[in-house]
């Protein structure tokens, strides 16, 4: 039996992930165990929900376990650019009506912004989504992870799924971020160190004053990219910022989890951000990371601000501050995509959209934008793109002959101004 007192520091020797998993299977489980756990929320997006519906039908299921804790989100190819996608969107709309589950339709935003923004996650939750960046909500002290469509269909039917409890790598991040350097630069740096499969089967725990200093949005950028090291979860502690952020989004009560002082870690990695500089992930892998100094001046044809990694309000704030008094270079298309409708509204109210569009940016519908290459800005052969997204795989933006570079919002905007990779520290004061 799991005792809720154990969520706080205890003598059991459990880390945060083991505590969340234990709580959801009502007995103590540790790394390496396999368990069937209750889940709090399950969802799919427009690229994966079609197969969730097919699996649901093949299972001969009648009802989802809890309609208000299941969602389908039309974000990847939205508004639909082709008839085939329109048919999938229609099928998803009909299914959500039939089951009474939550639908977020065209223009609402990216799944990984909407799930936390709409109050579907609180600390201590266990969430599955049919999208690999579901790990984003670890920033809210939850265990959330991406799975295949059959898995998510099973979770929607049963309200539970099986897990192998992962080992956990602890990242202790100390120091203060210098001006012009952001959480995106830190996570790119860490991925470069650990490599693309450095955390396969494992979870990542991020602690330390550098993490505590970050806003929830900036923490989400880090948690979002745990999968780029192969990790199942990327989890952080809950603090006053977490509670303040959740206020007004949900009135669910929650029990945050804390790792025990004698918890087990497969590895502990310490970093100091005090001397960290801007980083770029070079084509075609996310772990191909270098300091910006190595590639300054490389010509860029397109710049993208947005996605579930960096399409949030403070990213738009940074972008507007950097571009103020400058123009987008005529040789660059600068595409901006707020991660959700409410971020778009907020960014309009605060004048960020005005500033960016006046400077020459092209605004597209809240959602995934050009991230996955189905619409909204497919690059041409041989072109260079700089983006705030989380993946730069060959072909990712819809053209295998283009070259995608990843950086922070400030780096992307500075590069849009100069039409080449540019140091954001020259633009922030």
């Amino acid at each position: 039996m799991w005792n809720n007192e154990n969520n706080k520091k205890s003598s059991l020797g459990l880390n945060m992930v083991e505590k969340i998993m234990s709580r959801h299977t009502n007995k103590i489980v540790k790394a390496g165990d396999i368990a069937i756990c209750d889940i709090d929320f399950a969802f799919g997006q427009d690229g994966t929900s079609g197969m969730i519906i097919d699996a649901f039908r093949e299972m001969e299921a009648k009802k989802v376990f809890d309609p208000k804790n299941c969602a389908m989100i039309l974000d990847h190819s939205s508004p639909s650019p082709i008839i085939g996608v329109s048919a999938i969107h229609k099928k998803i709309r009909e299914f959500t009506k039939e089951q009474g589950i939550i639908l977020h339709d065209v223009g609402d935003g990216v799944c990984h912004q909407l799930v936390p923004e709409k109050g579907h996650v609180v600390p201590g939750d266990l969430i599955v989504g049919a999208d690999s960046h579901t790990c984003t909500y670890g920033a809210l002290n939850s265990c959330s992870t991406g799975m295949g469509s059959t898995d998510v269909a099973g979770a929607m039917v049963a309200g539970k799924t099986w897990f192998k409890i992962p080992e956990i790598i602890k990242f202790v991040c100390n120091g203060k971020f210098p001006k012009g350097v952001y959480s995106k630069d830190l996570i790119l740096y860490l991925i470069g160190q650990l490599t693309a499969d450095g955390a396969t089967y494992k979870a990542c725990e991020y602690v330390g004053e550098a993490i505590a200093d970050l806003s929830i949005e900036a923490r989400m950028t880090i948690a979002n990219m745990a999968i780029e090291m192969g990790a199942k979860f990327g989890i952080m502690e809950s603090d006053e910022k977490t509670s303040a952020w959740l206020k007004g989004k949900t009135d669910r009560e929650f029990l945050a989890v804390e790792s025990d002082d004698n918890a087990n870690y497969s590895q502990i990695i310490e970093t100091d951000v005090t001397n960290l500089g801007p980083k770029i992930a070079m084509p075609h892998t996310v772990d191909n990371v270098c300091p910006i100094e190595d590639v300054l001046g490389k010509k860029m044809d397109q710049a993208v601000l947005g996605t579930c990694t960096n399409g949030r309000i403070e990213d738009f704030k940074v972008a507007a501050e950097v571009i103020k008094g400058h123009k987008v270079h005529p040789d660059v298309r600068f595409i901006i995509v707020p991660a959700s409708r409410s971020i778009l509204l907020q960014a309009m109210e605060l004048g960020y959209i005005q500033t960016l569009v006046e400077a020459g940016a092209a605004l597209v519908t809240p959602g995934c934008g050009p991230c996955v290459g189905t619409h909204n800005g497919v690059p041409s052969n041989g072109e260079n793109v700089i983006s705030t997204a989380n993946r730069n795989f060959k072909g990712r933006m819809g053209n295998g002959s283009a070259f995608i570079h990843l950086g922070s919002p400030a780096t992307v905007v500075a590069s849009a101004i100069e039409s080449k990779i540019a140091d954001p520290r020259n633009y922030v004061n």
Partner: protein, 173 residues
Amino acid sequence: MILKGKTHRFKTPAGTDHDINTDYIISGRYKFQCEDNNELATHVMEDLDPNFYANIEKGDFIVAGKNFGCGSSREQAPIAIIYAGISAVIAKSFARIFFRNGFNKGLPLIECDTDRIDPADKLEIDLERGVINNLTKKEEIKFSAIPPLMLTLLNDGGMIEHFKKNKGFNIDG
């Protein structure tokens, strides 16, 4: 469950058998075009070995290095392998979403040191006991036995069949 068959190995353009991604297993160009799984299976691994499908005998194994199945979460990858007649994949490690998809679709995935397994070796695998008997080399390789939960999924033919039969999970966890 005892499985018997011969092995197949592949090399990626990088010259290794690590990181065989889901695009190599089944190219993205078929994933939206092919509704028929038997047809999909004929394209399995074709970018690494165009003759592979023709050389499979039912029950054969794929053997690889680290991080097999990395990349996208497409479930067509394990499906194409299963419909091609492969009865298990043996690798040093698997990417985690592929690992789940494999068991959920009814494909046993075995993690062990694969250095001593050559192409066309004849193997006999005991999933419950966690032993590979290399009949060609007359030696045994041990692997961690497949946990009961996943064996149940495999024995039922994957998660969909398991759910159909039990109206949900019917496994102690």
